[in-house]
């Protein structure tokens, strides 16, 4: 269970995120969406501890995120970012196993877990001997997902995970990722700016604008019951892009 209560952030007097509260239960996928600068990335970075909020608290399974608990609690977060965020000097396998290795897991246990995850993300095991630069974008992203899941975290956070992929690869990966989330029953928080992708994954969509949640609900709510003009315009813009065949 991930709980945020009243977290806020401002830089140089400019409010980036107004006090925001959010609770995500295991098995639930929440998607944060909104235009650039709306605060969705800041919110994700607060959850994962890259940004410390000016006020409010983050709780993970009943434990509060503080400077003292952060390093320990991080192994219960899995983090996937655009293009995988893989370390170029390590092979796919070493990228996946880096934390397990750091935590001194024995090699057999690492081996078993890597094989399990490769099967889960449908990646041939031998491909993991390659370096990131020797893989395709989709392969890199699958390795990134393996790395995020390696320590069996309670929460998986994804920052524009499909951003760098072409549409066909993207569609494949979306389906695989959704199947994985359905099976693993984890807390999932994803940032995207594509309403279609949000609708595909989300149990709940949070549309942010100017540092606050403008509307929360299902894709159906957004299309049929937009909360205000801003939401209406955001939806319309997304539709136009999709109709025009532009990949947002």
């Amino acid at each position: 269970m991930l709980e945020l209560s009243g977290v806020s952030k401002s830089y140089d007097g400019r409010i980036i995120l107004q006090p925001t509260s959010l609770t995500v239960a295991p098995g639930e996928t929440v998607v944060l969406i909104g235009p650039s600068g709306c605060g969705k990335s800041t919110l994700l970075r607060i959850i994962v501890g890259l940004v410390s909020p000016d006020a409010g608290t983050v709780w993970l399974d009943g434990e509060q995120l503080t400077e003292q608990t952060l390093l320990r609690l991080r192994s219960r977060f899995g983090y996937v970012l655009q293009d995988g965020g893989l370390f170029p000097h390590l092979t796919g396998r070493d990228n996946v196993a880096i934390m397990a290795d750091y935590l001194n897991w024995d090699q057999r246990r690492i081996q078993t877990r890597v094989a399990e995850l490769a099967h889960l993300v449908r990646l041939p095991l031998e491909l993991l001997a390659r370096y990131p630069t020797q893989m395709s974008g989709g392969q890199r992203q699958r390795v990134g997902i393996m790395r995020a899941l390696m320590l069996d975290p309670s929460v998986v956070l994804l920052d524009e995970p499909m951003g760098a992929l072409d549409p066909l690869v993207r569609a494949d990966l979306q389906q695989d990722l959704k199947d994985i989330f359905d099976r693993l029953k984890k807390v999932v928080v994803m940032v995207t700016h594509d309403m279609g992708e949000a609708g595909f994954f989300a149990d709940r969509i949070l549309l942010l604008g100017e540092g606050r949640v403008v509307q929360a609900g299902s894709l159906d709510d957004f299309i049929h019951r937009p909360a205000n003009d801003f939401v209406r315009r955001f939806i319309t813009a997304q539709r136009l892009l999709t109709l025009a065949g532009v990949n947002p």
Binding site: L71, R74, Y79, G85, F87, H89, L90, I98, Y131
Partner: protein
């Protein structure tokens, strides 16, 4: 192998423990001083005292400070230099006062060797005739003359500044190596230069000395200068030479080296054989000397470059990391290593002599300081340039600060760090040649001697191997790179 390396280091460094019974003779970087150093060394040895000659130690400040620091025990100085330059701030008016001032620093002024070597201002006979030059005051009427002086004379209180002020001369002088200035005079590249009155070139090229018509120039008697702790036995031997070398003889000894191209060692041996009825060896092949010199120079040069580089890597990489992790401290670190780089090497060497003496250690210290900048900078920049997404990935997956540095950041910066080390290595090969000025040997030694003796093969015997060593360093790093830079950063 390792023990011989250590021995070599200790030997070159002149550690007191090893030199307790060895008398170290010093000399300045001009022929006369080197010949006298050789004479003293050989006479000490033939009298059963272990002696070593640290030859061609840059200028007066290097040798004098080396004597005060205890790295050398004795050298030949000139009374004028002592009064007007070294002790000028204490204003001694005669030799008695000089002796007293030196005694305060535990130094002893010995007796005169017998010759005078004054500074003179000289021109070619041709120029003296066409411009009617006889006296120093005549120079005032010829502001167009090119004046090239030995660097030391150019700056010394008893040198050019004194003459320029007292004679009101308008010319601006250039500074260079003494022998180069003289060669320039003979070849017509410059019109006026300073001469030492014992220079053999004066007679050889029929140079004209301009009269000091206002009588301002000091007299320079050659005298021993030694440490008060020099063993009595050695002092006794030095006394044997007192009054034995008159000005004519010194001129002849200098001419033998500079005109007849006999080595200082042989000239000194011949003099001692003649004067004391000794039987010191005087035969030596020029090429054999060149070859054996190259072997020891290579060894010394490698030692300088490799040891200084290893020390620098050990200091500079942590400094670069510190600069990256503590930005405010980092600004200070980067500024400091930048400033160090701008200190002229000669000045830096003279600064470190009082602390580290002469020889290997000050040279290593200087090279260490000069190689900091490229390594610190490249370490810092390499770490800083890692994409933010990768740095954040490393944070978010839960690695500690230290683990991030070792597992992620340093490997990603490895190529940049290696380039910094390579730059430092190549620069070091070049810079190490200045080590010869303070007695650290290396390829600078034949270069320095070759310039002094106008001996091209000897200059090349230092310059070519130095260039080859720089190339070899480049090659070495091509071999090292795959061992240091992770494979993932090299594949595409």
């Amino acid at each position: 192998m390792r023990s011989s390396l250590i021995l070599a280091v200790l030997h070159l460094s002149g550690l007191p423990a090893f030199t307790a019974e060895t008398v170290v003779v010093g000399s300045k970087a001009f022929t006369e001083s080197v010949v006298l150093g050789e004479i003293i060394r050989q006479l000490l040895e033939v009298r059963g005292i272990r002696a070593e000659h640290k030859a061609e130690l840059g200028g007066t400040p290097v040798v004098y400070n080396g004597l005060k620091a205890g790295t050398i025990s004795v050298y030949v100085e000139y009374t004028g230099t002592l009064m007007q330059e070294l002790l000028a701030d204490k204003r001694p008016t005669n030799e008695q006062e000089v002796r007293a001032r030196l005694a305060e620093q535990n130094l002893v002024l010995g007796q005169r060797l017998g010759f005078i070597n004054n500074y003179e201002i000289g021109v070619t006979r041709e120029l003296a005739r066409t411009r009617r030059l006889k006296k120093l005051s005549d120079l005032e009427q010829h502001p167009d003359l090119n004046i090239a002086l030995s660097s030391e004379f150019l700056g010394r209180k008893d040198g050019w500044p004194l003459i320029k002020a007292r004679y009101g001369l308008p010319q601006v002088a250039l500074g260079m190596n003494h022998e180069t200035a003289m060669a320039g005079l003979v070849r017509g590249k410059n019109d006026v230069t300073d001469l030492y009155s014992t220079d053999s070139e004066i007679a050889q090229y029929d140079l004209v000395k301009l009269e000091d018509d206002r009588g301002i120039m000091p007299v320079y008697h050659a005298v021993y200068l030694y440490r008060a702790d020099l063993p009595t036995k050695a002092v006794e031997v030095l006394k044997e030479l007192e009054g034995k070398i008159d000005t004519q003889l010194m001129l002849r000894l200098n001419a033998n080296v500079r005109i007849n191209r006999v080595s200082e060692t042989v000239v000194a041996a011949e003099f001692l054989n003649e004067t004391f009825g000794l039987n010191l060896p005087t035969g030596e092949s020029r090429w054999g000397r060149l070859a054996s010199g190259m072997v020891s120079a290579t060894w010394q040069h490698l030692l300088l470059v490799i040891v200084s580089l290893a020390l620098s890597v050990a200091v500079a990489i942590p400094l670069g990391i510190l600069a990256y992790t503590r930005p405010r401290l980092g600004t200070l670190i980067l500024a400091t290593v930048g400033v160090i780089q701008t200190i002229p090497s000669m000045a830096l060497l003279v600064f470190v002599i009082p602390v580290l003496g002469l020889g290997l250690w000050p040279a290593l210290a200087a090279l260490l300081l000069y190689s900091l900048l490229p390594i610190v900078r490249n370490t810092y920049q390499g770490l800083k340039d890692i994409p933010l997404a990768l740095k954040e990935s490393a944070v978010v997956i839960g690695l500690s600060r230290q683990a991030r540095l070792w597992r992620i950041e340093l490997p990603l910066a490895s190529r940049s760090i290696l380039v910094g080390i390579k730059t430092a290595a190549v620069i070091n090969v070049g810079t190490a040649t200045i080590g010869a000025i303070i007695g650290a040997g290396g390829y600078g030694q034949p270069i320095l001697t070759g310039i002094r003796l106008d001996d091209i093969p000897m200059i090349l015997s230092g310059a070519i191997p130095a260039a080859l060593m720089a190339l070899a360093m480049q090659g070495l790093f091509a071999v090292v790179e795959p061992l240091v830079v992770p494979k993932g950063l090299r594949v595409s």
